[in-house]
């Protein structure tokens, strides 16, 4: 009986969603007048190259127009890592011997991982440094870095990083993000206010504080996701 009610509810929900979203034309241009914007999308497209000197409009939206949301999302990730740590942390104290993988990988995988690891870190760093120019940015770059660590963690039985360095990097990156925001508050009177841009549009040095913030986000996301992997990847020793 419960099953049928559940199916019925899902069917009603599906029908509602389908009819609603059918009425919203997919891919249609709804930006309105670009020169005199009255919707935020048009405004963002107009202002991000002109005022913010940022080639990648999405980055301009994520880091500046809606930078406060991004700070919130970084915090969500930080709190997720903290919450996970608070729940899973105590295994260490309970003296349960843990290991990360049961079976050692073959020589081929180990050698391959060793070659790939620095390249993955490099790609991650590249992605977040160029966040204001090319697709990608802090979150994506951080995720790539964490993937590199994941590769090492599942390949080697005893791969450890310096936990202290990770904690310092993570905290300082978070504090730096807030500090950049406070700089805007003190100098321009508005939290996360961007500075006047130096350099030219499309150059590496452009966009004011936007690239700087994305670098901090990249470091924070990278270390945080890596920490989450460290917390999660523990099996009781058999």
């Amino acid at each position: 009986m419960r099953k049928y009610i559940a199916f019925l509810l899902i069917a009603i929900l599906g029908w509602t969603l389908a009819t609603t979203f059918k009425a919203i034309p997919f891919g249609a241009d709804r930006r309105g007048d670009l020169d005199h914007p009255d919707k935020v999308a048009a405004f963002y497209l107009k202002e991000s190259p002109e005022v913010l000197q940022t080639a990648n409009s999405i980055t301009a939206i994520v880091v500046n127009f809606r930078g406060f949301d991004t700070l919130g999302e970084v915090t969500v990730l930080f709190l997720a890592a903290t919450g996970l740590a608070s729940i899973l942390y105590r295994r260490k104290e309970e003296d349960v011997e843990v290991e990360r993988v049961r079976l050692p990988s073959s020589g081929l995988v180990r050698t391959g991982a060793k070659i790939l690891f620095p390249l993955m870190l490099l790609l991650g760093i590249y992605v977040f440094i160029h966040g204001h120019l090319t697709p990608g940015g802090g979150f994506q770059g951080g995720a790539i870095i964490a993937t590199g660590f994941l590769l090492m963690l599942i390949t080697y039985k005893h791969f450890e990083t310096n936990h202290n360095v990770m904690v310092w990097l993570e905290s300082l990156a978070g504090l730096a993000f807030v500090a950049v925001g406070l700089y805007g508050l003190f100098v321009y009177g508005s939290f996360l206010h961007n500075t006047k841009s130096v350099g030219t549009l499309n150059d590496l040095i452009s966009g004011g504080l936007i690239p700087l913030i994305y670098i901090f986000i990249g470091i924070k996301v990278g270390t945080e996701l890596t920490n989450i992997l460290y917390i999660l990847l523990k099996i009781k020793k058999s």
């Binding site: 930078g67 999302e73 709190l79 942390y89 105590r90 904690v167 905290s171 925001g181 961007n194």
Partner: protein, 493 residues
């Protein structure tokens, strides 16, 4: 330095990011720093409330982009009142929990304090933001911290409650995001004032779908029937200071979000009746469930849901007096329910199953805590001369002004149910025949100060309600005056 609403968020964030480093330098930093930050929030909340009452709505712009282009933080008399209330209670709960469970090993305290502080900061964020998506982000922050704190004690029931909360909370987030998406495609903006302005041109079918999704999502956050199954488990399993925070801070933020969306964004008729009906069912079901509980914290949890139901009824009546009563009741609920959780947790501190039987004869071991618990129990039922009396009184008067006689009868009947189980609990403390041999945990000085402060508030407001009715009446009219809100936010274009 000029203080502004963004400090509410920035100070806790700085502290949260810094605590992992500070604990390396000084071991007790994790316990102290949140207290300093929460106290700072109390100080600025009083200052900002004075400014709002003197100079009108504060509209702070983030990143230099004026609304509707950027994100803005808004303090109206209503939100300023709620933030002050949440800040004061947040600090009081910190004070209460300062030495709570000293047995916790060092490393874990750090996580607990960060999560607890950010739960309060996130709730303030929900209340002060003027942007719909930003509200979603803060609801996420509150959610993530609440799930982790529910499962904090890492036992089977805690994990189950946390997981249940996580699932239903994620459902709420999904629906909220869908609703925001629909609104955004139709209005091309996320600023709440501008959405309110453009809502008239949105097709009716879209409006209804978005409204239903908002009601599902925020109904989950506000513990509205039938979406509140997570709440009793979460309240029961979380550490006691966290249960108090759920009642005093998180549920307030949930109700606020629901009310803001329904009152400011939408102009659909019939929503008010829906609030009255659902609020009444919420209250009735919760109070009937509360009377059957054998576990103290579960009983208090169901009672919390019942109070929220009454708040929703009062908002549903919708007249100025009713909204005034609703905000008054939010305040009373936050203060009294946290006092109940604070005192109640001492009765069951050393018992494993937290059963009501553990209350038997506790007045001999904990005379002061027992007195405070009884005071809070009488106050929440609505005995004069405690503060709980006035909020119920105003709600009933507003219902009678609207000629809703059945509603009045219903509320009074439910109050009788409430009376029964609270008196039963108080009766156990003072008059139980068979006594348990549990040794009670003596409260520490800081907890006594925190509990006495709340009790004093209940008595003073009960005797002189005039000291806060002025604020409440400003808050109520600012919530109802939608045009003024829109003009103040968008006028500064």
């Amino acid at each position: 330095m000029v203080i502004s609403p963004v400090h509410y968020i920035v100070a806790p964030l700085l502290a949260a990011f810094a605590i992992p480093l500070l604990t390396k330098l000084y071991k007790d930093a994790a316990r102290l720093v949140p207290g300093i930050v929460l106290f700072y929030n109390v100080v600025i909340s009083f200052e900002l409330m004075q400014q709002v009452l003197k100079n009108g709505i504060i509209n702070e712009v983030i990143a230099g982009w004026k609304p509707p282009w950027g994100i803005n933080l808004v303090l109206t008399p209503f939100t300023a009142f709620l933030t002050t209330m949440v800040s004061v209670l947040g600090f009081t709960i910190w004070l209460y929990g300062f030495r709570f469970k000293r047995t916790l090993k060092g490393g874990v305290v750090k996580y607990y304090e960060i999560l607890q502080m950010m739960m309060i900061a996130g709730s303030i964020g929900v209340i002060i933001t003027g942007d719909l998506f930003n509200m979603f982000v803060f609801i996420e922050i509150v959610g993530i911290t609440a799930y982790s704190l529910t499962a904090f004690y890492r036992e089977r029931n805690g994990a189950e409650a946390g997981f249940k909360y996580l699932l239903i909370g994620s459902l709420a987030s999904t629906f909220l995001l869908l609703a925001i998406l629909i609104i955004y495609t139709q209005t091309g903006t996320l600023n709440m004032a501008q959405i309110a302005e453009r809502m008239g041109s949105v097709p009716q079918s879209m409006k209804i779908t978005a409204l239903i999704f908002f009601l599902i999502a925020l109904g989950i956050e506000a513990e509205m029937f039938p979406l509140n199954a997570w709440a009793p488990d979460a309240y029961e399993q979380a550490p006691s200071p966290t249960s108090a925070t759920f009642a005093a801070v998180v549920s307030i933020a949930g109700v606020y979000a629901l009310v803001r969306v329904l009152f400011t964004l939408f102009d659909v008729s019939g929503v008010h009746n829906y609030l009255i009906v659902m609020g009444f069912i919420t209250m009735l079901v919760a109070e009937i469930a509360a009377i059957t509980q054998k576990n103290l914290k579960r009983m208090l949890a169901y009672s919390s849901i019942g109070q929220v139901g009454l708040v929703l009824i009062a908002f549903g009546i919708g007249s100025k007096l009713a909204v005034f009563g609703a905000i008054f009741l939010m305040l009373n609920h936050a203060v009294i329910k946290s006092l109940l959780f604070m005192t109640g947790s001492y009765f069951i501190y050393n018992s494993d199953d937290k059963r009501l039987v553990g209350l038997n004869g506790m007045h001999k071991q904990l005379p002061y805590v027992s007195a405070l618990f009884s005071l809070a129990a009488f106050a929440i039922v609505g005995f004069p001369p405690f503060s709980g009396f006035w909020s119920k009184f105003y709600i009933l008067i507003s219902a009678s002004n609207q000629k809703m006689m059945y509603l009045i009868i219903g509320i009074l009947l439910v109050t009788i149910i409430e009376l029964v189980y609270y008196l039963r609990a108080v009766g156990r403390i003072y008059f139980a025949k068979e006594e348990m041999d549990d040794v009670a945990h003596k409260p520490s000085l800081n907890a006594l100060v925190a509990m006495s402060f709340l009790a004093l508030f209940i008595i003073i407001v009960g005797i002189y309600p005039d000291i806060i009715t002025g604020y409440l009446s400003d808050a109520a009219s600012s919530l109802l005056d939608k045009m003024h809100y829109v003009q103040q936010i968008l006028g500064s274009k």
